[in-house]
Amino acid sequence: MKISRMLAVATLAALALTSCAPPTSNNAASTQDDKTGTLRVWLFSEVNQDPKSAVVNATIKEFEATHKDVKVDVQYIPVDTRAEKFKAAFNDPSSAPDVAEYGNTDLASYVAAGGLADITSSIKSWDEGKDLDPKVLATTALDGKNYGVPWFVGVRALYFRTDILKAAGVEVPKTMAEIETAARAVRAKNPGMLGISVGGKAQFSAMPYLWAHGGAIAADTNGTFSSKLDTPESQAGIAAYTNLMKDDICPAQTCAEFGGNASVQQFIAGKAGMTIGGDFNYKAIAASEFKDKFGVVPVPGVEAGSIAPAFAGGNNLGVFKSSKKSTLSNEFVQALASKKSQLAMFDAMGNLPTFTDVQKSVAEENPYVAPFIDTIAAGTNFVPITSTWSTVDAKGLFTNMYQQVVTGKADVPTAAKDTTAAMNKIFEAK
């Protein structure tokens, strides 16, 4: 048979080659430090691209004017396919940019891949650097080294419909328990509406519940992570969140599959009394049909008057380790992340600044950002900063736990225990 003979040939060829290991690349830090030439920059493309481009172009114009023989070449890359882009850049340093914008949850895996340069000293010597919000700056640090400058932060707060709450006869919730009762009252009054639109896949809405109850995703002991989802406090937080996805508030049939965006979409479509949404959702909500009938407050904690710790999302600007223009790169990062540029970005895009003083001035002039700034001021929290978190995230372990509880496939203790075990296995595999 021809096929078997061909297989034999292929096997022989394979045997001859088995001594070869799969290919690896070399991301050693470059010793070269050119002061002229083209600086390659990757930024994320936006749905509403023009305002972002305008701010970036203005910064570049100024930068090129003060740096002789330097040209900045910006490429806007789509957020959805960033993983492939960044991995390709790590695998082939010659196609990598010098400076890049990246999501702060991706940081640890990029550092582990050896792609990002340690820029701690450059932040320290930067005159504006000392005003950076320390909680936010901490999200760029791994083992005490900073691998990026926070460009903007994103936090979530509680959006509610003033008219719907009033009709249902409930006050704006002041505790997490009140969110549940208010949501139930809304749905009882309007059976076609979700009391609060939350989702089984909306992990950043679930995290404040976990943290407000004193729970944690994982504990870090000298760089070794262990999951803490099965502690009584964490389980209380998981239960409080999943209790919202009941038939009398946000039925699992509808809400189990929602991610953060989908749940906010329901609110924008006027199909929900409340939702947990980000500052980045504000413009879309303010453009909806009920634009003068909604309000925003920080997500309340367990006790009245407290604020639940929010997830500090946001994007950083970092320098690639393989860059041959490290000084220039750092200067450009500081130009783009400067107070001036961040203010311009806030005006253009509504991105929340990362400097404490800029946050304050912005909140004073724009009352609508106050709930978000208050949330940041009350203290934020973050996902475990370890490269293994991206594996946990890719496998959807954290959201699977919520979905299992919501769909009744497992109760809270079982789901929490199983997820803790699965997560620990990944943490240990490092």
């Binding site: 290991a21 991995k87 039925p251």
Partner: protein, 325 residues
Amino acid sequence: MTLQLPAKPSLQEPKPATPSPRRTKRRGGVSRFEHWLYLAPALIVLIALMGYPLFQLVNVSLYDYRQDQVSGNAPLDFIGLENYRTLMADPEFWQVLANTVIFASACVILTLVTGSALAVLATRLRPWVRNTLFAVSLGAWATPAVTGSAVWLFLFDPTQGLINKMLAGIGLSQFVDHSWTYEKWSAFGLVASEVVWCSFPFVMVTVYAGIQAIPTEVIEAARLDGASMPRIFSNIMLPMLRPIVIIVTIQSIIWNFKIFSQIYIMTSGGGIAGQNMVLNVYGYQQAFAASLYGLGSALGVIMTVLLLVITLVYLRLLKRSGEVL
């Protein structure tokens, strides 16, 4: 139409009783290698395009090969069969494998049954009806998997979908806001319908072409003897269509075991809490999303071996039943 068929292709290749005199004359020392010379272009292309990637797939599956290793930030360790052992010990893998086998088998059977039934029906239709049927189903076949999945998802959307609105419209109130992807098997059923929808046309057109190639006298003779249509199909057409049915079955098996886009899009990456995960999506999740290239490659190898085994067993069974291959 893209399919061009000779007027009356004979399905069974007539076997030469004796080797032709020219060939015997040519059997000399040099010409023993002559067939390799003719094969060389195809072999070179095959080895370059299939052999090498396959070799690298097996090779990578034997290493602890993650993003850190690829970008040279961690040492590369040869771990032998450790990746395979990890998979074998993982109950999730077995669950995914079971899902894949059940889902793919259902898709194969439904595709073949639908395609063959419509092919037989097509022979009985007026030309313009038949051409309309073909044109419409070729449209489904030509639709890219991603587009098809998205459109189906639109149609079956819980709140805005046409299907739910229609069902609710005829008084079935339980379908108001009904989520088709909430239950595991309901979600698999929905995806399977989409898969059958976009793959039955291939079976239909191929089988129809096969039926057209059957000499009309044979069928006429059977009809004169009083055979019914189902009888004609099972006792006359099917045996004569064997070679074609074998091809479309193997194609369907391979195609349906490798389903990726439909599951990935319609169940948003594997369903609620991963209930609709199939091997290929699982492999993608491990290899690319989680950057566990070694583990993902091991999954790829298992997939390849599985498909080879299924195909070989299928061919073997046919051979035993006396079919000339």
